[in-house]
Amino acid sequence: MKSAPFEYLRADSIASACEALRREGDSAKIIAGGQSLVPIMAMRLVRPSLLVDINEIAALKFIAVERDAVRIGACTRQALVERDDALASRVPLLRQALAWVGHVQTRNRGTLGGSIVHADPCAELPLAAQVLGAKMVLRSSSGARTLAAEEFFTGPMVTATDSSECLEEVHWPVWSEPRTGCAFTEIANRHGDFAMVSAACQLALDGEGRCVRAAFGLGGVGQTPLAFPRLAARLLGTKLDEAVVKSVAQDAAAQTEPGSDLFATADYRRHLAGVLAARVIRAAQEKAGGGK
């Protein structure tokens, strides 16, 4: 399990990283925390000719809490994102999702951006990004562009990122509704394993407990993490009674196209999708002070 030979560049700025990517083209890979990349390189499943190390670029490590959004630098360690209280009060779903990402040890090294560009369809951070409609800022030598999550995730381990681009930062929208709650859950064989199915939800309620804003999604049951804006809209104006939640969750499950593997058949995944969708909606409602 030694990786195939590669060149290594420690970039000292975003510009130098982008320049290296432009020069090298398709066969270059950015390395940040390396929690996914290093194992697949060791198994020689990927063989980059050049590794561009962005760990020393300070400009990629920050958490900036702003009025409508929180901006997080791509190379910010997951552990720092998880522990940031100001962030947790604005985008609470991130802390919830991160509790399921690997283990404490891997989160100390793994980065927010690394997980998002890796784009594993069952990974937690891509699902959170999809559900909340996060925006990805992509930088290249010729400038920057911003893509919404729904445009960004295009397939399993595939994103709309061009080979010359580096993910620079991720913008997470802040919900201003006072009664907002969110929840994240998943089923994996062991804690920290790739989820068979994951589910995330964020809701806002009015004073009477009526749902005024809703977003939810499912991971591990499609080519990308899935958000269900149309189904979420069916929750609006309701008090999230049993029948509504169940029907929305079942419809979401029915829209999934899961695959089968050693640990879960498509049927099992689809079943879990319905169960977990209902659970996260209910849990988010409770977090928002509703229900009961």
Binding site: P5, M43, R190, F194, F263, A264, Y268, L272, L276
Partner: protein, 802 residues
């Protein structure tokens, strides 16, 4: 750490004392195979077959040899020409096995060529360039298919896929089945799992042409390893020196890299440079030949309405993979505990060892006993359920009583001692069983699936060769000794020499504690070292939960000789009889006259430097060796296959509470108590650590771990992403309750505990899961009980009721 006085009157044995070896491990000062760095050492990477069964048409090594830094590429053609085939545990001489295949590959992952290079990375680069042309052949993956008359033969020359088959009948089985009130039958399936130590197998070798000596450093736990390595390398035994002072990073039975070692030894000699192979995880899991039992049991039970179990019929089919080694013998050891801790007077046992095109099997913790215990305990619960009888009552009724020991079981083995009812009662009290039942019932009322599982199981310990001669009468062997040498140097300090390597069992603590106990000297000041194979006394390595018994007994025997020598020296100098003396803390004084004393230092000085004060007939210097045979000795089997298997029998009972999420199938272990009796514990921390680890291992085997194969013969779980070892998140708090029934056969009353926990955990967890599923009217008897498998059972019940 405060030292507690042992409750049993020993000075050091059984007290809570710091272990001797752990400080160096936890401070990163262990010395493992991967720490061996020899000047000019080269590294090996392997080329593995992608096919489960194929003919090797050609191998082109030229592109690999052209890579800068590559020294050599070895193929099976040259290797098999220069070495002998590895040892086969049963009478199957045509099932030849070498580290590198020649002509035919028999499983996906089998090694075809070895690349030797300056670094492991270069070796891997070059291994990719070795061009092997294959012509794929039929293959067989399912063990039942492999038994079919027209099955593809894994080894054509052997003429069958069956390595071993026999039907043993011990006692009036048919009569019992005819007379019993009830009978039931079911199949229990133990999945292909193993132990997967963090350290893969590693070995380094160096050939000295000047002395004609091959030095080997390996992460080894294997009986007869130096002999087998020398034989396969066609070298005299005294031309191979295995260094046993290499720390082994976990083994649990399977660090038996004999094929790796022969390969590395051959290359070191052939190339004249030191060579090292450290398996990577992919090589280890596909081609390291370290999978465990893969076994199903067709169980039949004859029993009466009062719960008396009259007889068992057990058909066990074990899929050992593509080659034999010792793996068929894993069906043999359970003969010695084939009725578990129960009074069952008639047993039919029909073991079948079958080959398939899968990775070969190696010895795993318990050597086949854990699967057998699982099948037995599922049978007990099924009987209880059938009779609507309480599972604990059923067990109490059938458990051997403490006044029945020594107890002869139908297969010819005598159990030494035990108090199974007391251990069970202690465990039930520790978990507050009535409260646990209430907890389960309340959970059920709240709509959850909740179950309690119980197992009562044996751990045979002490080891011997009985299954070897039982399964292969041509292999007439009955000796299974271990040894220790104790030396007191001129400064008066004590050194114990053990004669095998350790893989985490704490032998240095064991030996120093025992020597300290006998000589009444502080174990903390006693050094324990590992011999090399040329300076070693005979040993059979730490297998079969034998070291507390055998190495402990040998260390005590050697220490007693030292003590006798010291007393003899004093008697000579005081001109009295040894009976007139007393030995205290290493000093010897005349009884009743404390002032008339020769101190430890004085006695040591006489032994080493004052020959004129030595009694006649006693060797100068102060050292003693003791070679000890297994206390019961192995016996030669009777014609109907009755034999004394291991000497000592530890007992464990597990009580586990599980809840299963009915909507997802996810199980969680909520409460866990293990009652354990391994006689006198030499070091309680070590026993508890082993038991704890064994339970974690059992959790893995029952819920998570499986070397799964695809229909096209590929290993589907060859990494830690898919071979799921339970982590700290999956292992609950475990409460271990001790009980002590000393063995009458051993030096201090100790029994073995190296396999503790693992032998009863899967059985209890399976019983708990089945108790949880019981209200749905479904059951599961196949391990591992994955989330998916549990959900499928639950949803099948839902469909049935709908």
């Amino acid at each position: 750490m405060a030292e507690e006085k042992s409750p049993s009157g020993f000075r050091y044995i059984g007290t809570k004392r710091r272990t001797k070896e752990d400080p160096r491990f936890v401070t990163g000062r262990g010395h493992y195979a991967a720490d061996i760095a020899l000047p000019g050492m080269k590294h090996i990477a392997l080329v593995a077959s992608p096919h489960p069964s194929a003919r090797i048409v050609s191998i082109n090594t030229k592109p690999a040899l052209a890579v800068p830094g590559v020294l050599y590429v070895l193929t099976g053609e040259e290797f098999q020409g220069g070495t002998d085939a590895l040892y086969v545990g049963v009478d199957a001489p045509k099932v030849t096995r070498y580290a590198l295949a020649r002509g035919i590959v028999r499983y996906a992952g089998e090694w075809v060529a070895a690349v030797v290079a300056d670094t492991r990375a270069i070796a891997e680069d070059a291994a990719e360039l070795v061009e092997v042309e294959y012509e794929s052949l039929p293959y067989v993956i399912d063990p039942e298919a492999a038994l079919a008359p027209d099955a593809h033969l894994v080894h054509k020359a052997h003429g069958s896929n069956v390595l071993y088959h026999r039907k043993f009948v011990w006692g009036p089985v048919e009569e019992a089945f005819a007379k019993a009130d009830h009978k039931l039958a079911f199949r229990a399936t133990w999945g292909r799992s193993s132990t997967v130590p963090i350290e893969t197998f590693g070995v380094a070798a160096q050939w000295d042409a000047g002395t004609g000596l091959l030095d080997i450093w390996a992460s080894i736990q294997m009986p007869k390893f130096p002999d087998q390595a020398a034989r396969a390398l066609k070298l005299p035994g005294n031309a191979v020196r295995v260094h046993f002072d290499v720390d082994v990073g976990g083994s649990y039975g399977l660090k038996r890299g004999i094929k790796h070692t022969v390969l590395v030894g051959f290359l070191a000699k052939r190339l004249g440079v030191p060579v090292r192979l450290i398996e990577d995880r992919l090589e280890n899991m596909r081609g390291g030949d370290m999978h465990g039992p893969d076994r199903f049991f067709d169980m039949q039970v004859a029993f009466d309405r009062d719960g008396t179990i009259r007889a068992l019929k057990i058909r066990a089919v074990d899929d050992v993979g593509a080659y034999a080694g010792r793996s068929p013998l894993q069906l043999g050891k359970p003969v010695g505990a084939i009725c578990g801790p129960y009074q069952i007077r008639a047993i039919e046992y029909e073991p079948t060892s079958v080959m398939t095109n899968k990775t070969p099997q190696e010895a795993v913790r318990g050597f086949g006993q854990a699967p057998t215990n699982f099948a037995l305990e599922r049978a007990m619960d099924r009987v209880a359920r059938y009779l609507k009888m309480d599972r604990i009552e059923l067990r109490r009724k059938n458990l051997i009583r403490k006044d029945q020991f020594p107890y002869l079981i139908p297969s010819g083995t005598s159990y030494d001692s035990g108090d199974y009812h007391a251990v069970l009662d202690k465990a039930l009290a520790a978990i507050d069983y009535p409260a646990l039942e209430r907890e389960r019932d309340e959970a059920r009322k709240a709509g959850r699936l909740a179950g309690i599982g119980i197992s009562t199981c044996l751990e045979p310990s002490g080891g011997n060769t009985s299954f070897e001669i039982l399964f292969n009468p041509k292999n007439e062997t009955t000796t299974w000794m271990d040894s220790c040498l104790v030396r007191v140097d001129l400064s008066g300090s004590i050194t114990g020499l053990m004669n095998t390597s350790s893989s985490g069992q704490g032998h240095e603590t064991l030996v120093s504690t025992v020597i300290g106990e006998v000589l009444e000297r502080d174990p903390a000041a006693i050094r324990v070292i590992h011999a090399d194979s040329l300076s070693a006394l005979p040993s059979n390595s730490p297998v079969g939960s034998r070291m507390a018994i055998m190495l402990g007994g040998a260390a005590a025997g050697a220490a007693r000789k030292i003590k006798d020598t010291l007393v003899a020296i004093a008697a000579h100098n005081f001109e009295c009889s040894p009976q007139d003396l007393e030995y205290r803390d290493g000093n010897v004084n005349v009884k009743g006259v404390p002032s008339k004393v020769l101190t430890w230092d004085q006695l040591v000085e006489i032994a080493h430097r004052k020959y004129h004060q030595m009694p006649p007939g006693i060797e100068p210097g102060l050292q003693a060796k003791f070679v000890w045979e297994v206390p019961t000795g192995p016996t030669v089997p009777t014609p109907d296959g009755r034999v004394q298997m291991y000497p000592c029998y530890s007992f464990e009972t597990h009580i586990v509470y599980v809840e299963i999420d009915p909507d997802t199938g996810k199980p969680s272990l909520k409460r866990y108590v293990c009652g354990h009796d391994c006689g006198v514990m030499i070091n309680p921390d070590i026993v508890h650590g082993m038991t704890y680890g064994g339970i974690a291992h059992g959790i893995g085997a029952s819920l998570y771990e499986k070397f799964a194969y695809t229909e096209d013969g590929q290993l589907a779980s060859g990494t830690f992403m898919d071979y799921l070892i339970p982590s700290a998140m999956e292992v609950p708090d475990i409460h271990i309750v001790d009980h002590c029934t000393p063995s009458p056969l051993t030096t201090f009353g100790q029994k073995g505990s190296g396999e503790a926990g693992y032998l009863g955990a899967p059985a209890a967890i399976a019983n708990a899961v089945n108790d949880a599923l019981d209200p749905l009217g479904v059951s599961i008897d196949t391990l591992p009980m994955s989330h998916l498998a549990l959900w499928e059972r639950i949803s099948s019940a839902a469909k049935k009721s709908a």
